[in-house]
Amino acid sequence: MRAEIIVPGSSSEPVCAAALNILEPISFWGGISPRDGRLTDPRSSLHGRSTVGRIILIRQLRGSSSASSVLLELIQRQRAPAAIILDRPDAILALGALVAREMEWPNPPILRLDALDQSRVEDGARLTIRVDGQLMMDTA
């Protein structure tokens, strides 16, 4: 599978990490703690899970004007996801990574992958994302 790159990551190395599959609609502001990267919505089945260092797959991003602030804060605290995969481009979330780049703080890549393709990735599976967006599942 190949994901479309919305904002490239700052590293020239491929990203290798475990997937966290977020099926319910999620808003970064109010949905993820900017301090520790945990999922905070008590109504979500993933409540309390950590997004730190994970490749998070988001089926449906609920828009919030402050999503960019939350992502930038996670990046500065070195608590960001390893990569963020969305079902469609989102300019506000992307801003968090764009501003991080300007601040010279290492930013994770933000990519786009259809919800259908996302559903082929199992929660917890180890993934490798190459810098060109090629996405591979470690089957071992």
Partner: protein
């Protein structure tokens, strides 16, 4: 297709206006590319939501822009910060985040923004003209600006808002384009009772319902009459929090909808929804999360999201009369309103009766409500939406009258539903 640069854009990118404008232009162009915009356009003003403290990173970004000599190029107002600079000691922040929140607020002022600190800038003198392109942040302000003023803005997220202000430019996309401003959904409210529509409580309920129902589509109301600014403000705020409504029309009342044909740009509606009292009952119930009955104890009352206008503050004064609140009643408003009513002594009169006036910020964006949680009563659709997640309080949505009665008695007052 790449974003087409005009000469002024290229000059800014090359540093002709200094490193802050260059940085803002780089961020703006990347965003324009993600949004598939063909070019940038001039904006006449900006309203910044990015000045609210979410952590140190935002303060560092703002201070970097100051260090780089950034100055806004268009008149720019500021949304709420995390601190009430008028009434010290309102917030329960620790010393470190308080200091950083203050540094962040100071940095935005140093960039040339006006220290308005309000989510109702449109009632603090910032009123762009019909058809003017602007770059505003804060969802309620965006919905009001588009719908009630007829000026044109997309929802500018944190950081993009200040980049637009520093360059005077914004991506040519979304609600800046005439074709995206026509309504596609007709909302017929002629079946609702006159008594219901004559009551303030109808408007946050209609807004909450609208946001759930249409998401980010453009709808036009028929049969709403002339609700007046404060009611449209309540409707817009609720619609922009329950959904992503950035623009709606009220046929016969808002500037781009003199007639039904204007609102729909001479095309037929793609969908017609006839609103019934039953449909609104669900939206109204969704604004309450606390499972308590009438006369049970409540811990706090909050009004003023968006910030109270002078008229709304006077309505609070009227409803309270000479009585004193038994539990705190937080009234959130802007310093522009406090300045206007100062000669009348209203501030002191409200304080003497137990009203906690909050300026420059509000109770759902910074810790102000008493620690420990409980039940909060509010007449704001937006507070009702955000308070449970942000404050830990459960909410009861009620009329202004019931908010005041609950504050006076310390127990939940609920009059009969107006619908």
């Amino acid at each position: 297709l790449p974003v087409r640069l005009e000469r002024c854009d290229q000059a800014m990118l090359d540093g002709a206006d200094g490193p802050a404008a260059a940085m803002a232009m780089r961020i703006l162009l990347e965003t324009a590319r993600i949004l598939d915009a063909d070019k940038l356009i001039d904006v006449a003003s900006a309203h910044i939501d990015g000045c609210l403290y979410h952590g140190d990173s935002g303060a560092h970004f703002a201070e970097r822009l100051v260090e780089f000599g950034g100055q806004v190029r268009v008149p720019t107002t500021l949304n709420v910060g995390a601190l009430d600079l008028i009434h010290r000691g309102r917030d329960r922040l620790d010393a470190q985040p308080r200091a950083m929140a203050r540094r962040m607020m100071d940095a935005y002022v140093a960039l040339g923004c006006r220290a308005t600190w309000t989510c109702a800038p449109y009632q603090a003198g910032h009123r762009p003209a019909l058809g003017q392109n602007v770059a505003w942040g804060e969802s309620n302000a965006v919905a009001f600006c588009n719908s009630v003023l007829g000026a044109r803005t997309n929802r500018y997220g944190d950081f993009l808002d200040i980049c637009a202000a520093l360059t005077g430019r914004a991506p040519h996309t979304g609600l800046h384009l005439t074709e995206n401003r026509r309504a596609t959904i007709l909302i017929d409210v002629t079946g609702l009772s006159e008594a219901f529509l004559a009551d303030d409580i109808a408007y946050p309920i209609l807004g909450a319902w609208l946001g759930h129902e249409v998401g980010d589509a453009v709808a036009a109301f028929a049969g709403l009459g002339h609700p007046g600014e404060d009611r449209l403000k309540a409707l817009a705020a609720a619609a922009a929090s329950s959904g992503s409504v950035g623009l709606f029309h009220v046929i016969g009342a808002t500037p781009e909808a003199e007639t039904l044909a204007d609102a729909f740009a001479d095309r037929p509606p793609e969908q017609v929804i006839t609103v019934t009292a039953d449909m609104l009952a669900g939206a109204r119930a969704g604004l309450t999360t606390a499972r308590i009955a009438r006369s049970e104890p409540v811990q706090a009352v909050a009004i003023g999201s968006p910030h109270l206008s002078v008229a709304e503050l006077l309505a609070l004064d009227d409803a309270l009369g000479e009585r004193v609140c038994r539990i705190p009643l937080y009234a959130c408003t802007g310093r522009h309103v406090l300045a206007e009513v100062a000669p009348t002594g209203l501030n002191e009169r409200l304080a003497a009766r137990g009203v906690v006036v909050v300026a420059d910020t509000c109770v759902v964006v910074t810790p102000i409500l008493p620690d420990g949680g409980g039940v909060l009563v509010t007449n704001s659709g937006k507070f009702a939406h955000y308070a449970p997640g942000n404050t830990g309080y459960d909410v009861v949505f009620a009329s202004l009258k019931d908010c005041v009665e609950s504050a006076v008695s310390g127990r939940l007052s609920l009059g009969g539903p107006a619908s």
